[in-house]
């Protein structure tokens, strides 16, 4: 049975219709221990079927350890979202609920290779000289989470030094507890700065500034 309803398929079609270039969803599954891997594979196939612009690649994290290492992926299930380049967009877990939006905005933005961020934020990102790693913790039922996740992804698209990892907290309880995630969205920058909630871009920029100063 299809995961996406006819209504949603129609909306996805409309949303992805103006992708200027091809985008790729590279899925890493885990044969040994993975609750929703089958559903993730089915989901990306259903998304790809709505347009000729989305390609899907599938790997098993242990059998294809080289590919995983090349994409800097050490946990499954994971989806690398790439366009003409790899901008460092990663989604860990199944992008269901509101996180389905994050996946689609991610692939659309990766295909464009540019973001809608405003000039000031872009200038700041242009001037970066140190790497910035985002871990954005989300849950599928959190309506504010896609905002935080998409913002990190847009920043990653604007700067080669920024990487955006979006993590479905309920599927990665050990990461969630390591980072003490008890409210979402939570953006952790370079493992040091924490921003709770769907913060406006300027607030995230301030947190990035602090994170790279330490």
């Amino acid at each position: 049975m299809a995961l996406l309803s006819d209504d949603i398929v129609q909306n996805v079609k409309e949303m992805l219709a103006d992708m200027p270039r091809e985008g790729t969803l590279t899925v890493f599954t885990d044969d040994q221990d993975c609750e929703y891997c089958e559903q993730i594979l089915q989901l990306v196939d259903e998304v790809a079927a709505t347009t000729d612009r989305v390609r899907v690649e599938k790997f098993e994290i242990h059998k294809n350890a080289d590919e995983a290492a090349a994409m800097n992926i050490s946990r499954a299930p994971a989806i690398a979202i790439t366009g003409e380049e790899d901008y460092g967009l990663r989604f860990y877990g199944i992008p269901s609920g509101y996180e389905f939006s994050t996946l689609l905005h991610g692939i659309h933005a990766a295909s464009q290779g540019t973001s809608d961020l405003d000039g000031q934020v872009k200038d700041f990102l242009d001037g970066l000289s140190k790497p910035v790693d985002f871990k954005v913790f989300v849950t599928p039922t959190c309506p504010y989470c896609p905002r935080a996740a998409v913002l990190a992804m847009e920043m990653a698209i604007e700067s080669k030094l920024v990487h955006a990892n979006v993590i479905e907290s309920a599927e990665f309880p050990e990461l969630a507890s390591q980072y003490n995630v008890m409210g979402v969205p939570l953006s952790v920058i370079n493992d040091t700065e924490r921003v709770e909630g769907a913060a406006p871009p300027q607030m995230i920029v301030d947190a990035v500034r602090k994170a790279i100063a330490t």
Binding site: L3, I8, S101, M182, P200
Partner: protein, 324 residues
């Protein structure tokens, strides 16, 4: 088992007008309803929101009493529809801008200033800022916010799978938001200050029927305890005076709401609880300045009432502008 949702991207900031017909402060159900009507009527309409649009309604898992959705509808879904309907008729929406001041200049001109020092000018202005969750103001509440204390069970509930959760407040919001948590938490204890719940009977019945729920009344919660994160809640039984610690990993607070009116308190009449007084056409005492939805005095905090308020204001605005 899974569902998949689409939310709009952040709208772009392009301000089309020097003088809007209508500026709406707050993009919850009330504000967006006014926008649907005024924009459809051809009036230049701007909605400003300090967060994303959708308001409180967007934070609830399911709304079952909004007509037209016999199976109920997820709050965010419903609010997406409101917003798309407003945008379809040309409403401009700007998010993450908090209005800090409203300045009536003369009849037909009111200025609205935001925390980013943007000034917008409108012929009319509608205050639809709703309310925010009340805090308990007890020790531990701020300290453990985001570390087990939360005001949104829909958002943060899934982080407490298999854990023990306490919900403070067993009114409509507490019970309604606690129900989905019962499905995955180990145990959910509801602590209510009053001797009984004022929630709808159907919600009370559903909670009571659940094997993992405990509902306790006459509880005055005095402290939230924790180490790194929340470990429990201290409560005093108001009947027996007994002090008890309820161990928990997560605490959700649903003890009522207070209105967002500080920024207009010197401008309009407020009631004793700081809600804005209006006449039956939603007019405040300042011509061209309206208040609608949960922020308005004597409103029962229901979607359908907010929506009704929004329409009433739109109708009056049309007449007001025609007469300018």
């Amino acid at each position: 088992m899974f569902d998949f949702k689409l939310t709009p991207e952040t709208p772009k900031k392009e301000h089309k007008s020097d003088l809007y017909d209508v500026i709406i402060i707050g993009g919850g159900p009330a504000g967006l309803t006014t926008a649907i009507s005024t924009a459809r009527d051809g009036m230049e309409t701007l909605v400003l929101d300090r967060e994303s649009t959708g308001g409180l309604a967007a934070t609830t898992d399911i709304i079952e009493n909004y007509p037209g959705f016999p199976e109920g509808i997820n709050g965010m879904d419903l609010m997406d529809r409101f917003r798309r309907q407003a945008e379809r008729f040309g409403t401009e929406i700007t998010e993450f801008e908090e209005v800090s001041e409203v300045r009536p200049i003369k009849e037909g001109l009111i200025e609205v200033e935001t925390d980013t020092e943007q000034v917008y000018r409108g012929k009319t202005v509608v205050i639809a800022t709703g309310s925010r969750p009340k805090k308990l103001n007890i020790p531990g509440e701020d300290e453990y916010y985001g570390k087990g204390v939360s005001y949104c069970a829909t958002c943060d509930g899934p982080l407490f799978r298999g854990k023990d959760v306490i919900i403070i407040g067993a009114g409509n919001s507490g019970l309604q938001e606690g129900l989905p948590v019962l499905d995955y938490a180990n145990k959910v204890t509801f602590l209510e200050f009053l001797p009984s719940s004022r929630a709808e009977q159907i919600l009370q019945d559903r909670v009571k029927a659940h094997a993992k729920s405990t509902l306790l009344f006459n509880q005055r919660v005095v402290e939230i305890e924790g180490e790194q994160t929340v470990t429990g809640v201290v409560s005093i039984d108001r009947e027996t005076g007994e002090r008890q610690v309820f161990p928990a990993d997560g605490v959700f607070i649903y003890v009522g709401y207070s209105p967002y009116t500080a920024f207009v308190k010197d401008l309009v009449d407020l009631n004793q609880w700081d809600y804005i007084k209006t006449d039956q056409h939603m007019r405040t005492k300042i011509p061209g300045l309206y208040a609608i939805g949960d922020v308005r005095a004597d409103n029962p905090a229901q979607m359908t009432v907010s929506v009704g308020d929004g329409t009433k204001a739109a109708l009056d605005i049309r007449e007001f502008i025609q007469e300018l």
